[in-house]
């Protein structure tokens, strides 16, 4: 299967003023050395809490933000070195689905126009064929014909998210990035939308990056899992490896929390993240040396972690 996306050593730094009047700036590493490879038809689930850099990663891949270092190759082309004209034609091959379908849909447009617009703009169908194509897309996302004349405010959250997903499918994308696509929905609706993503996976060759803080959801749609913490990848591997055999203390904590078993460790006082493992203040298995050096991501293709072996991280089939 062909590779759709290859990200290598991505860096993104934000400078934040300490206060409104301050000259001094704090440097925040939103992404430090993040790499991933995504093949056609595969889905990588990106897990992490707020501030872990998962949304920054999504935005950098879409070039909504320019990374400060690293390379992004999409469908064999180097995105960061591409002239503008070529970038535009590649852009329609990547789509994003946002968390809140209410703010990502135009409130003044009926469902029909929302979906027809990209079809006509990218000249995927002509005016005559557009109606049939819109109906086909709506059917694919589980909405019947009655929806074409509705406005966003006339629909429920789940229905709106179906429209947003439908719109992302219009341009026949090679990559869909879904940023917390079910987080704002009710529990009983979440599973419907997760099943819709499964249908799309079955039916098409679209590669997906599925960003979520909810492990339950990610597990269902992903082939591989990437766990991020404070801008770094701390564990990555196939779905079964990461879920059935989690190695990083952070991943273990997340999986336990998803089962309703909560950790007892409280975060400690100040700690210099530029020197040691960023998870040190919360880690249940930390050792003294975790404070002074940053563990690198190592292991096999199926399973890698960034944790010192002596710290309970064990080795991930260290080869």
């Amino acid at each position: 299967m062909g590779q759709v996306l290859a990200v290598l050593d991505l860096q993104r730094v934000y400078e934040v003023k300490r206060s409104v009047f301050s000259v001094k700036k704090d440097i925040i590493h939103a992404l430090s050395g993040v790499s991933l490879d995504l093949d056609q038809g595969k889905t990588i689930g990106i897990v992490g809490e707020s501030g872990s850099g998962k949304s920054t990663l999504a935005r950098c891949i879409l070039l909504l933000e320019r990374p400060d270092g690293g390379t992004i190759s999409f469908m064999g082309k180097d995105l960061l070195g591409l002239p503008k004209g070529e970038l535009k034609s590649l852009r329609k091959k990547m789509q994003i689905i946002f968390q809140d379908p209410y703010s990502s849909l135009n409130p003044r447009k009926k469902v029909f126009d929302t979906i027809a617009e990209p079809l006509l703009f990218h000249e995927i169908v002509d005016r005559k064929g557009v109606k049939g194509k819109v109906m086909e897309i709506l059917k694919n996302v589980g909405l019947d014909e009655g929806f074409v004349n509705k406005y966003p405010h006339e629909m429920s959250g789940g229905q709106r998210q179906r429209v947003a997903i439908g719109r992302s499918l219009t341009t026949d994308p090679a990559l869909i990035i879904a940023d917390e696509p079910v987080s704002s929905l009710d529990v009983s609706i979440q599973s419907q939308i997760v099943n819709l993503f499964l249908d799309i996976k079955d039916r098409t060759d679209i590669a997906m990056l599925f960003v979520s803080h909810d492990l339950n959801v990610v597990r269902f749609v992903s082939d591989e899992i990437m766990v991020m913490y404070k801008g770094r990848v701390v564990e990555t591997g196939t779905k079964d490896e990461v879920f059935l055999n989690p190695l990083h203390p952070y991943t273990k904590m997340l999986i336990n929390a998803a089962k309703g078993e909560f950790s007892r460790r409280e975060e400690d006082a100040a700690f210099d993240e530029s020197k040691g493992c960023a998870y040190y203040p919360r880690c249940e298995q930390r050792k003294a040396h975790c404070r002074d050096s940053i563990p690198r991501l190592t292991g096999s293709k199926e399973h890698k972690i960034a944790c010192f072996p002596e710290s309970g991280g064990k080795s991930a089939h260290s080869s």
Partner: protein, 318 residues
Amino acid sequence: MQLLDVTDLNTSFFIDGKVIHAVDRVSFSVSKGEIFGLVGESGCGKTMTALSVMRLVQPPGRIVKGQVVFEGRDLLRLSDREMEGVRGDRIGMIFQEPMSALNPVFRVGEQVSEAIIIHKKVGKKEAKGATMELLRQVGFEDPEKRYAQYPHQLSGGQRQRILIGIAISCGPSLVIADEPTTALDVATESQIINLLQGLVDNSAMSMIFITHNLNIMRKFGQRIGIMYAGRMLEQSSVDVFFKEPLHPYSKGLLSSIYGLMGNQKRLTAIPGFVPRLAELPRGCTFHPRCPYVMPVCREEEPVMKEIGKGQWVRCWLY
């Protein structure tokens, strides 16, 4: 005796000549030292139930009927003055969004001691001492430093600790926590849950814990109530509920979240969507989405029935 006994509570909104029943014939009780989980999706009436207990429903909403017996007195019959003495003193409340519940221009310590000064009628100095003790109780190791900080200097979890401090500052016998961890990360969430559990364990305090996240209730709390479209659909002890949910809606909710432990390929989804309160279906409010629907469900709404072992359910199957 129960600490709180809510019977047949009805809260409605009167908008444009229409009546919307946000809380419809809800009954439940909370005993001493118990954590009662009130679970449901958005718009199911769980927050409105809590606000009704506190008598904080704003127009066009109004408590239409019912009884809220707390420590032997019906709160709905108290004068506004008497109710002010209960609120914040005997019943504390924790809200979902800690940033908007705190005043940004006052030091957090002052906001904690304010409640103590008002309700306990003590001086500033005495209140400050009590505040330090409270800050320690909610997990701050450096109360002096925290006392002087402003809300924006604290993280989401720390702000929530401050709010918990305010809620328990007067030693209430009941705390109502409305989605206190929803805006927080998983790890912070677990710390807050641990803190709340510890506070309940170490005092005779009871708690109504409102959440949309069934998973939290698995290891937390004694009793659980499931709400849907303004009604209570099921009530039982936490142990029984997770082993043997009765209502088809509860079963659907549980199988939607059991994903992590299961091996199935697809999630079992509840079809359809949550009905709007203004356009409720006839009969049982859940019948359009129910896999076990029978003719009677379309015609007539079932009543809450006791099945035994403290299990209550509103469904024609039982």
